[in-house]
């Protein structure tokens, strides 16, 4: 049995030795049934499965690779973080949405009180709490700062009223961190606060929203006179916008991770074989374009990661990665439907040759990638500003 990792010895390892250590551990402990396949190329972990897997990671000292050691993370170098990701991708591990680890944890570390740190961080690591992100509202999407869910401070409590939407996995989470309006000032970015709320609190209603891939990962969440203790405020009152903006450190790089596109192209290659298209020059040229695009993008992604590893700075480059990776992914998944011809009549599973495929699912699951985490139009605006182009 592979040795249980301790944080100290992981960081002392060479990059190669670290890779081998994690690879061997995954070979022993990663549950094969949660592996991505041609049938489910972009598989995501859900509820109990995710909880179990995160707990396994924690029990064996592999949890929270990006967190500093003082908070119970592995405190890995950026280079080792990349290796950690690569090894998970190598075995086609399912995708994980763990806002507690990637978003809230780092926020509490930076803006939380000692009490908040001591209480919340271990609970995240141990999978006691699972956090949803309550940012978007029906009238606050790309223009997030115009949000209007209200939190009125009355005595020792905030009284929260309003609605959040597109809240991923709210139905499977135990808690939610939110941006709420606590005041009206000159600028809409002012008067927003960052609040932690237990989803079991009376007055909260969660409705799953069915998406075009046939799943219900997104929810709308209603707040009706929800009472939230004052100490659940993170950072200063009215300063939530600054907090939300400072999030997304390495996450901005991971949004450009080419692994989803890699998986989609693996499906393309399989389809070309199953459909006997290897001698179709049009199909093969299209496949060559996508292959070259992915190949070159992997180079750009690696360059950017190298730069981050060297300088620690992320910069607006990250927006470039997000835009290109998401659109490439969509182009590949569209190609998969296009070459499948009449197999596309099936909106569910269909056998193409010997491979069970769900063409619709794989294409629909790529649609939100250009919308979430700052839609690509907003990302392009950020990049244009970085190029010195004037705003209208």
């Amino acid at each position: 049995m592979p040795e249980i990792s301790t944080r100290k010895n992981l960081n002392a390892l060479t990059d190669d030795a670290f890779r081998i250590r994690f690879r061997e551990w995954l070979a022993e402990y990663y549950p094969k049934k949660w592996t991505q396949s041609h049938h489910r190329p972009h598989l995501r972990f859900h509820g109990e499965e995710m909880r179990a897997w995160l707990k396994t990671l924690n029990d064996h000292g592999w949890r929270a690779p990006d967190w500093p050691q003082e908070y119970g993370g592995l405190g890995l170098s950026f280079r080792k973080l990349l290796i950690y990701k690569e090894e998970l991708n190598r075995i086609n591990a399912g995708r994980i949405v763990d806002n507690g680890e990637t978003q809230l944890g780092p926020t509490i570390m930076k803006f939380g009180t000692d009490k908040q740190k001591a209480y919340y961080l271990p609970r995240i690591l141990n999978s006691d709490d699972h956090w949803a992100q309550g940012y978007s509202e029906p009238n606050a999407g790309s223009d997030l700062a115009s949000l209007s869910t209200k939190a009125d401070l009355q005595g020792d409590n905030f009284i929260v009223n309003g609605q959040k939407t597109w809240t991923t996995f709210a139905n499977e989470c135990t808690q939610i961190y939110m941006l709420v309006r606590t005041g009206r000032f000159e600028k809409k970015q002012q008067g927003i606060s960052f609040l932690l709320i237990d989803l079991k609190t009376p007055g909260i209603t969660i409705n799953p929203i069915q998406n075009i891939a046939g799943e219900s990962e997104l929810c709308e969440v209603f707040f009706d006179d929800v009472v939230v203790p004052k100490e659940n405020l993170v950072g200063e009152l009215h300063q939530g916008w600054t907090i939300a903006k400072s999030l997304l450190g390495h996450e901005r790089i991971w949004l450009g991770d080419p692994s989803m596109a890699i998986r989609a192209l693996a499906l393309s290659q399989q389809l070309v074989i199953e459909l006997n298209k290897q001698s179709d020059p049009v199909v093969m040229d299209q496949l060559a374009v996508l292959t070259a695009d992915l190949h070159d993008y992997q180079g750009l992604y690696a360059d950017t990661c190298d730069r981050v590893a060297d300088t620690g700075e992320i910069g607006s480059e990250a927006s470039m990665l997000k835009v290109y990776a998401s659109e490439l992914l969509q182009r590949i998944s569209e190609f998969n439907v296009e070459i499948a011809g009449e197999y596309a009549v099936a909106s569910g599973d269909i056998m193409v040759g010997k491979t069970n495929i769900n063409l619709m699912w794989q294409v629909m699951m790529t649609r939100p990638t250009t919308i979430y985490a700052g839609c690509n139009e907003v990302q392009r605006d950020i990049l244009a500003a970085g190029m010195g182009l004037p705003r209208a």
Binding site: L265, T291, H295, D296, A302, R380, A384, L389, P390
Partner: protein, 357 residues
Amino acid sequence: MQEQDEFIGMLEDSARRFVLDSSCKDHASLWPAIAELGWLGLCLPESHGGTGLGVSGASALTRLFGQAALPNRFSSYCVIPSHILSHVTTAHPIIKDLCEELILGSALLTLAWQEHEGQFSPDRIDTKLNNGTLNGSKLFVAGADIATQFLVTAKQDNEQVVLLINREAEGVRIEQVYESDGGFATVHFTDVTVDESALLLSAENASIAVTNSIEAGRIAISAELEGLAHGCLEATLEFVKTRNQFKQAIGSFQSIRHRCVDLLIATRLSESSWRKALTKLPLDEAQVSAAKARCGETAIKVAKESIQMHGAMGFTEEAGIGRYLRAAMAQSGWLGSPRQHRERLMNTISPKELIHA
């Protein structure tokens, strides 16, 4: 390696100044100036009197030439022939003089290898050397219009050779000099007498030298193409920031802003592709092809869209954007089109490599 990177950094600095200040507008004025700077020895090893910075150093230069859309023949008269000559043993009776002349800029050597339209690999050769007599024809010979000598690939008893043939030699006929910055032409060799000393390379050594030199040329051209894209985009950004219509800079319109962003991304991908190819020596076919396809398409795309964003001005020769498109199309078409290079990429890269790059 680090020392070499520093050299290349210094080279880039002086090249940037040179390109900015240069009043050279064509090959004829450019060549003596860059010979003076010692840049023609970049790709020759020290054993051959060069500085040994290889194709990495050359690409740093061609990129800057591209950025300024400076018509140049650095790839055809320096990068490719230097790579051929570097395979010739220093014991060869004429190599020392030849290298010296190349470095001084007095010899304009060019490789004559292609015999068919769309030919990608240099291995297929019908040009024959029999009993000291050369016969054959070469297509799209770069810089053939004013080259002083040709490095000609041929077969002698089924064995590949590389020969040095003087432009003035009897039986050399240059036809169809195309109107182009690159001076491309068809060159016929009819009963050309070849001295023993003109045999530079033979057998495996010859085929390796030719292959390496063409791959090196492809990368230097890729870097130049990315330079073209980069320079063209810079010029366009400058234009859209200052050109006012509807009482505002046209660069404030989202249709222009987002377009520029996409061109920036394409340019960054291009730069990353040729730089990645240079991290592996000898050059890897798949990486070279990825770069040549990417940089060629990007340079053309950026130039075309830049003409559009310049409006009617973009259609004028005066605006200078057309120079970028002309150069991009010529360089992209030479030594393998994007489509051909993508095909080679597909044939040489394993799916595994793609996944665990």
